[in-house]
């Protein structure tokens, strides 16, 4: 209640005097049953907006009477005159505010997009939730991370928790949109998927409600497919598109930005089909898509009204336990976590990126506030004499404080306006340079308002605090000796310099690392990725009937048959003039492997341990040669190793170092665990990184393609004597000669692939760098202004020193030393934060490749130089002045 009574001072005086008692009475009655924390919140929520409204009422009323506005108007005019009287200082304050607000609004928008909004193209909604199921066996092994269709229905039936639950999964399949079959990612969804996300389709009615039951052969295509193959025509709706030779009717087009959920983890689907279509287009897929034992669905949910995020976890846990009891065989150890659906998948690498962005945003807020505070304090202190004169002439204390508050508000408003004016064009420039990164960086009113509010509060608080101080001092004393506070002031300002440096240092270290990384990326070995190696993905799309007539082995799809065929394809491609080597793998080049060893298949040491990030890839002979990966020890996988039942495996250097440090890995054993089967394997070789691959490779195990359970016809690599691009038509023709029903897609040379990756990396780092440069400018500007102002304020002291016989050189040296000492202290204080920043970056942030700490050390001299310059220039100027004039200065 005391808080509420104190807050009432925010109301206009007359209103407060008239209604304070009643307000307290009504508020007290209204919030009687609430906890003190909720009462405090209610007090703020009640008073702040109403007080602003009441002031507005007074202003409007005054305007009608023609009085109040003129009083405020004269305050504002006077504020502008004061700003104009000290143009440099005011300019710096406004520039610092504008930069601080602008950078912060940008950074907060990034955080907002990745951490709070659902994926692009999905309307913002707090009730969208990601369901993360996990079944843990007693041994601690995780046996699944997805749900079955009946489980999705079970969860959907919990109406008190969920308004709706949907599921989806995806496969790379052959899709023919009219220009020949290509490989594309096809997502199978439950019929309510788009309805649940409330994604407004660009065209078409979408899936009907009962599609799960009917399994109608229909599809929703992406905006880009619509544009590319149908010219964006509405006539596309109702036409057919062939997926694995099955005709599906197009019933919808997704909006332009929509890329599904978790596109960065699962890839971006090109087509969405009902779950029932899976049996049609992928008859060899494991299990019936609607069976309880087929746990393949990634699930999302929309929460029921008034179900809070905290409730979900607990109530979902109860549901999972009930499921486990009713179906013990399939649900043992089932846990379902629920997390809000955001553009960022939890625990992905980008979480660290966001942590770093948040750290930088916070530091920039602190730098901005410190700068503004220090400058305003200096400004108010310099005006003590003026304030004293006004008080002596009869101005009330209240009147003077109101005047200073108006000045602060005008400064804050100017800063925010400038930030807004610069923010929109700078976003446009950024979009032109980095379209992939800033697609969502439209100025968000909420984030901008937040950043402006923060800076505004700092301005007002630090503008008014000295006003209270200045107006409470003894007028006579102040007028007699205005230089008395200089020492106290300089101590305070030294404190600000320390805080400023401590905060700027980590921001600038991050910036310099980014800069070094850009240089590394631009000049790195990746530019040597060969244009002579081409990779492509492929999918067989012959239907069972076609298969029966064209292939001697009938409709069986045993790996042996296809492996024999694969080998024929490999040999046939090698005969193409110009092709040197050809290899097949279960996924593309190592950096992009999607087959992770978790869930159903693991590679472990006989002792049962395994590095958590160990990944696997199944390859044929020639794979390492084709990609230019050197064999460091032992031998590569050869044609003889590539047979079912083979126990040979090759590891890369990273895996060898992790599994058998300081030992020779050749001949060592590894265990492959598949469901509950175990197979002992033997390491026959160690391969290194390809020369163009700069970031340290992940720990990898390479096994012969014939031993893979599935996915053994996913990617194809051909190494050629010259540019591979020109040979692509011949390679395609050669492949189709052996296997006519093959869809080929993602055709790219390594040079193109790495150039694209580098372009993206440089883009994202460029964005970070731009923010860093702005931060450096902000920090330097503030640092210079604070120190220079502090030194200039001591002109009188300099005059005294000179009058006492000190030489100008000694005086300058004294101030110079002071500046350096304070700066060094600030830098030392900032060191722990800098270490945290470096650690965040080293944790894989942005794919940094920089090991050179020298880049970090560059920052220190820059900051020291700014501080030194700021101490030296004003001191030199003051020391040149005649001591008599300096003594009179203030």
């Amino acid at each position: 209640m005391r808080l509420y009574r104190a807050l009432l001072y925010l109301y206009p005086r007359r209103f407060r005097e008239e209604y304070a008692d009643e307000l307290c009475h009504a508020f007290g009655e209204r919030t009687r049953t609430r906890s003190s924390l909720r009462r405090a919140w209610a007090a703020f929520a009640d008073v702040v907006p109403n007080a602003i409204g009441a002031h507005w009422d007074v202003l409007r009323h005054g305007a009608a009477a023609g009085t109040t506005w003129s009083a405020y108007g004269s305050d504002i005019r006077f504020a502008f005159r004061q700003i104009a009287a000290a143009p440099l200082l005011s300019g710096v304050i406004i520039a610092v505010l504008a930069l601080g607000i602008g950078i912060n609004a940008g950074l907060l928008t990034v955080i907002d997009i990745y951490a709070w909004q659902p994926a692009p193209g999905i309307p913002r909604d707090r009730s969208l939730t990601r369901l993360l199921p996990m079944a843990k066996q007693q041994s601690g092994r995780i046996t699944r991370t997805a749900l079955s269709y009946p489980e999705v229905l079970d969860l959907r039936a919990q109406h008190d928790v969920f308004a709706d639950v949907a599921g989806w999964t995806a496969n790379t399949l052959a899709v023919d949109a009219g220009a020949g079959a290509e490989t594309m990612l096809v997502s199978y969804t439950t019929g309510n998927f788009f309805r649940l996300l409330r994604v407004p389709l660009a065209a078409g009615p979408g899936f009907p409600d009962d599609v799960d039951r009917t399994g109608a052969p229909i599809a929703i295509i992406t905006y880009s497919i619509w544009q590319k193959y149908f010219g964006g025509s509405l006539e596309a709706i109702g036409k057919t598109i062939r997926v694995m030779d099955q005709p599906l009717t197009i019933v919808g087009v997704t909006p332009p930005l929509f890329a599904g959920i978790d596109a960065q983890n699962f890839g971006q689907p090109a087509i969405w089909v009902p779950l029932g279509v899976r049996a049609l287009v992928k008859p060899d897929a494991d299990g019936d898509a609607f069976a309880r034992s087929t746990t393949v669905l990634v699930s999302i949910a929309r929460l029921a009204p008034r179900v809070s995020a905290g409730d979900v976890e607990r109530r979902v846990a109860t549901i999972a336990a009930q499921l486990a009891q009713s179906e013990p065989t399939t649900h043992t150890g089932l846990l379902i976590r629920a997390e809000r659906l955001t553009g960022l998948r939890p625990s992905s690498d980008r979480t660290e990126l966001l942590a770093a962005v948040f750290l930088v945003a916070t530091l920039i807020i602190v730098i901005t506030c410190t700068n503004v505070s220090a400058l305003l304090l200096g400004r108010a202190a310099a005006r003590r004499r003026e304030i004293a004169i006004r008080l002596a002439l009869g101005a009330t204390r209240r009147r003077v404080i109101r005047q200073l508050l108006t000045e602060s508000l005008v400064l804050a408003a100017c800063g925010a306006s400038l930030a807004l004016a610069l923010y929109i064009p700078s976003i446009k420039v950024a979009y032109a340079v980095m379209p992939d990164i800033v697609y969502g960086l439209a100025p968000q009113p909420s984030t901008f308002a937040f950043a402006a509010l923060f800076a505004g509060i700092a301005t007002i608080v630090f503008g008014v605090a000295p006003a209270f101080h200045a107006t409470s001092a003894d007028i006579g004393e102040t007028m007699k000796n205005s230089g008395g506070g200089a020492i106290h002031r300089s101590r305070l300002q030294a404190l600000f310099v320390v805080a400023q440096l401590a905060c700027s240092q980590p921001v600038l270290v991050v910036t310099s690392l980014v800069l070094a990384d850009i240089r590394a990326k631009v000049n790195n070995e990746a530019s040597r990725a060969p244009a002579s190696v081409v990779t492509m993905s492929w999918v067989l799309h012959r239907s069972e009937t076609v298969n029966a007539t064209s292939a001697p082995s009938g409709h069986s799809r045993s790996p042996e048959m296809d492996l024999r065929e694969l080998e024929s394809i490999r040999q046939r491609v090698k005969l193409v003039h110009g092709v040197v080597r050809a290899a097949v793998s279960s996924a593309g080049v190592p950096r992009e492997t999607v087959v992770r060893i978790k869930g159903k298949e693991t590679f472990e040491l006989p002792s049962g341990t395994s590095p958590s990030d160990l990944r696997s890839l199944y390859v044929t002979a020639d794979y390492f040669d084709a990609l230019g990966m050197p064999v460091l020890r032992g031998r590569a996988i050869g044609v003889d190793d590539d047979r079912p039942g083979s126990v040979a495996v090759v590891v890369n250097k990273a895996a060898a170092d992790a599994l058998w440090p300081e030992e020779n890995p050749i001949g060592k054993s590894l265990i492959r665990r598949n469901d509950d089967r175990e197979q002992p394997l033997e390491v026959i070789g160690v391969v290194g990184q390809a020369p163009y691959e700069v970031p340290p490779a992940d720990a990898m195990v390479f096994a012969p393609l014939s031993t893979a359970r599935s996915g053994w016809n996913a990617a194809f690599t051909a190494s050629t004597a010259a540019g591979a691009r020109t040979l692509v038509p011949q390679i395609r023709a050669a492949v189709r000669e052996i296997e006519p029903y093959i869809a080929i897609g993602d055709v790219t040379t390594l040079a193109e692939k790495y150039a694209r990756q580098r372009h993206e990396a440089v883009q994202s780092n460029l964005a970070a760098f731009a923010i860093g440069v702005a931060a450096l400018f902000l920090a330097s500007l503030g640092l210079y202004a604070i120190i220079a102002h502090a030194v200039a304020e001591r002109t009188r002291e300099i005059g005294v020193r000179l009058a006492m016989g000190a030489s100008p050189a000694r005086v300058v040296a004294h101030f110079f030393r002071d500046g350096i000492r304070v700066s060094a202290f600030g830098l030392a204080i900032g060191l722990p934060t800098t270490v945290i920043a470096i650690r965040l970056i080293k944790a894989g942030l942005l794919g940094f490749t920089v090991h050179d700490v020298a880049a970090v050390l560059l920052v220190v001299p820059v900051l020291i130089a700014v501080a030194a310059l700021a101490s030296w220039l004003p001191a030199r100027r003051a020391a040149r002045v005649d001591p008599l004039i300096a003594l009179r200065a203030e």
């Binding site: 209103f15 008239e18 209604y19 008692d21 009643e22 307000l23 307290c24 009475h25 009504a26 508020f27 009655e29 209204r30 209610a42 929520a45 009640d46 008073v47 907006p49 109403n50 007080a51 409204g53 009441a54 009422d57």
Partner: protein, 119 residues
């Protein structure tokens, strides 16, 4: 000085909070917190006014002459901080004017075939 009907029209349409406060004072004089309770009860909790919102409205309404403070003595048991308000005849006219306006609006909508059920 404008005529009374003109003064009424000048205040229309009324902000919802103002209309609810007028409604709360039609049958009896009430103090601030009683007005809050009455509005909340009548709207089944849909409109929950905070103390600040209420007294800003009251201050404006007193100024406009829609309501006035009751100066009669209260019972000794009553909280001394409470002040009672009553509807003035002008306030009564404005409330009726607002009601007429809303009724006309509803009639127009009905003529166009709009019913609440069709929403």
């Amino acid at each position: 000085m404008p005529s009374a009907p003109d003064r009424v029209t000048a205040l229309l349409p009324l902000p919802p909070a103002t209309f609810h406060i007028l409604l709360a004072l039609i049958d009896q004089d009430r103090h601030g917190y009683a007005i809050i309770q009455d509005v909340e009860e009548r709207t089944r909790g849909e409109l929950r006014m905070s103390a600040g919102t209420l007294y800003r409205s009251i201050a404006r309404m007193v100024e406009q002459g829609l309501i006035a403070e009751v100066t009669k003595r209260r019972a000794d048991s009553d909280d001394a901080r409470r002040r009672y308000y009553r509807l003035t005849s002008f306030g009564d006219a404005v409330a009726r004017g607002e009601m007429r306006r809303l009724s006309d609006l509803v009639r127009l909508a009905r003529q166009r075939g709009l019913t609440p059920e069709s929403i």
